[in-house]
Symmetry: C2
Subunit: 453 residues, 2 copies
């Protein structure tokens, strides 16, 4: 281990302390602790490069760390090594409002960026719920509630600075809105989960604050009518800014968590962005579909604080459901299917969960065909845990059978590694070849995404 | 050369005839003829796989061929080898209107696809002008007039089937609208110019035909006011479907080519997509900017046939300019800069061209910061050709200095290879490593995109 050299380089920003290591060996999901051997807090790209050179020289694993909010164990250290915590690389380096672009260090969180952007009339739209770091969001190709309108991180990162395993610093992309000059390395690094290099700068595409925003929630008599409303809405081309499904179990959890008195039935939560007229038009078109499908009246959230409350409730879904089942061993799921197969996917999943008797509230970014069941078997009942895992497996297999993917937005990490062969076949080998080309010693986040060597 | 085996496999769909070879050794741009040793016309993915296995076994270069409309010599055969012409793999395999998705073979042209889609109310938006094959468009990451609204090929390809150099057949992506499962191989192949594998199936994202479309052209007193109008329009967030700049020299060429009587000054050609009200709103907002910048009245093209004429004129820009200078050695350029630097980029370029005395009409997809000067030195005057090349060089250097890229949409091929080091630095080496990992023998379109070995 290159610990003396790292200490000499970083001083107090190098630690092998037990609490620092433990903190960086845990995640929000239910993986056992897997701690790194050391944690470093670089402040510059040059330091990241020096760290990687040292780790390459000693063949030591390197794991990037943003805010620790990933759900598939991306930042755990099953092989030990050095955890590179980006929390001190948290500066917004440059905002170019005239080009609707910002360049940030990877440790900047999405909320910090949006706070900094407030005066410009611009915002960064990708919103996975957690106040994740932008580096982490790019590394996992995060998306969330607004992807239906603004796309995932794939569509919203223009350029990167990346440090490779051997310490070389490269720049991908440019500040131009498009380019046709060679392999799309920006896209290659987005979603690579720290297995190909560490991002040290991100140039992001920003959006203008819409002239008008309005949000609403509406109740449905059953799951089928809510999901059919989503399908019809997307197929009709209404440019929804958000369209989220929550089932009755979630509503129950929300009511308990935040004292709301919502009717315990499936709901859709929606948001419209546009001109004042445009938003009215969109809401009217959506309203017609809702009525046709038997949905109830909208409860509008026009004021920013009301909208804030609405989306905070949605984002707290995970915590609300966990609070209702404090003794659970939570298992997250994240399948994504073509919109035409959404009803099938949600309804089969709901039926399986009901049959199992295990709590499993369903919610999701249904406009993208993406939804989550949070399976909550009791932590002391191994048979329940095993059945919950079987349910999660069945969901993944269902997604593949319906032409979809086992992860819409959470990524692979350690949790979904077992599905890569089934989803990608030989293409998974190609990912392994790309990995070997860029990280021949296999020091970058080993045990994640590619086939274990 | 594996000619006997290829003949046995393909029968009359294998040719070493001089005219077939010559036809596949030429392009629309001004490169000398570089013919392959043989041409094959596969009809199935399996045949493509067999062809690649044979070429790998004999270490023979393989070059993909769509419609031959690329502008940077992508499909020329400087090292000979086998040209794989996809014109017989031209079936639309599946249209899923409910998911706004179509799966096509690579030889389907964009016009053929849009003709087939007419009854569905959907269309494929990417429009590079030429009636290129969709495989070729994906391979070069094409864009064109509508990218400002709908994105380039990068945003509009969901999934691929690709045959690798060694004959392995892989599938990338899925039919789901998004995914977070591993490296974005789809994005890696888009823009890879046939250097990593051959695409044999493409799943494309479709768009709903807008409820209302209207197009217009308007005149400006000078280049500066037209370009400033574009910048203000993009910055104001009006969701333009197209916004194209043409300079006075182009208008002169159009008038001569198609008998129009347009005022010989800079123009913008625009199109709005949306609801009837939305289109009116957009046009009104745009009109305010035009007036403020001193532009003239709009000439509207509301009827489909008028719009067709308008965009045909734009797409014929290259031919119109060449027709006006039949003795020219045409040199195309394709720089793309951040929108805030567009005025600088266009005006410096125009000044250089004026100073040179060489004809060089300017037009482009200015909403993306992308424009082309078509330099037209006389083919018999080597000094003019040399000065035109110096102008093209100066444009590329200007693009890089302004934070942009040397190619917005035409790609690298052979023509832009000399700028890759300057634009990408060490990242170009990384492209070379990826290439070596997927095509270790270097048989896939050698001499293009990556550093020559």
């Amino acid at each position: 281990m290159p610990f003396d050299a790292l200490r000499a380089l970083l001083g107090p920003r190098f630690s092998t302390g037990a609490s620092d290591r433990a903190l960086h060996g845990r995640s929000e999901a239910h993986f056992p602790e897997m701690a790194p051997d050391a944690v470093v807090w670089p402040e510059t790209t040059k330091e990241v490069s020096q760290i990687l050179r040292l780790c390459t020289a000693h063949r030591v694993p390197v794991i990037g760390w943003g805010t620790g909010t990933s759900l598939e164990g991306h930042a755990l250290a099953p092989h030990g090594g050095v955890c590179v915590d980006f929390s001190r690389m948290n500066r917004v380096l440059h905002v170019a409002p005239e080009d609707m672009r910002a360049t940030v260090q990877p440790g900047v969180t999405r909320e910090a960026l949006n706070t900094e952007l407030r005066a410009t009339g611009l915002f960064f739209p990708v919103d996975p719920g957690a106040n994740a770091s932008l580096g982490g969001m790019a590394a996992t190709r995060a998306s969330g509630t607004t992807a239906v309108r603004y796309g995932t991180m794939r569509a919203n990162v223009l350029a990167l600075e990346v440090v490779l395993a051997d310490g070389r610093i490269i720049r991908t992309g440019s500040a131009a809105p498009k380019s046709s000059t060679g392999y799309d390395l920006t896209a290659l690094f987005i979603g690579s989960e720290g297995t190909l290099g560490l991002m040290t700068e991100l140039t992001l595409r920003l959006q203008g604050q819409p002239e008008a925003i309005t949000a609403a929630i509406c109740a449905f008599p059953d799951m089928g009518s809510a999901v059919e409303t989503v399908i019809a809405t997307i197929q009709s081309g209404i440019p929804m800014a958000r369209i989220e499904f929550i089932d009755a179990a979630n509503v129950r959890a929300f009511n308990a968590w935040s004292g709301t008195g919502m009717q315990e039935c499936p709901h859709l939560m929606v948001e419209f962005h546009g001109s004042a007229t445009g938003v009215r038009e969109q809401a009217a078109s959506f309203g017609e579909i809702v009525t046709e499908m038997g949905g109830g009246a909208f409860q509008w959230a026009d004021r920013p604080e009301d909208r804030g409350r609405l989306w905070k409730m949605r984002h707290d879904g995970y915590y609300a459901a966990r609070a209702l089942h404090p003794d659970a061993h939570p298992i997250t799921t994240d399948i994504c299917v073509p919109i035409s197969r959404l009803a099938e996917a949600v309804e089969e999943t709901a039926r399986d969960i009901a049959d199992s008797g295990i709590p499993g509230p369903i919610l999701g970014h249904v406009g993208d065909g993406n939804f989550h069941a949070l399976l909550l078997p009791h932590r002391d009942r191994p048979d329940e845990i095993a059945r919950a895992k079987a349910l999660a497996n069945a969901m993944a297999e269902r997604a593949l059978r319906l032409g979809g993917t086992v992860s819409g937005e959470h990524g692979i990490g350690m949790g979904k590694l077992g599905y890569m062969e089934a989803e990608h076949g030989l293409a998974w080998d190609v990912m392994g070849s790309v990995k070997a080309a860029l990280d021949p010693l296999g020091i970058m986040n080993p045990g994640k995404l590619v086939r274990p060597v």
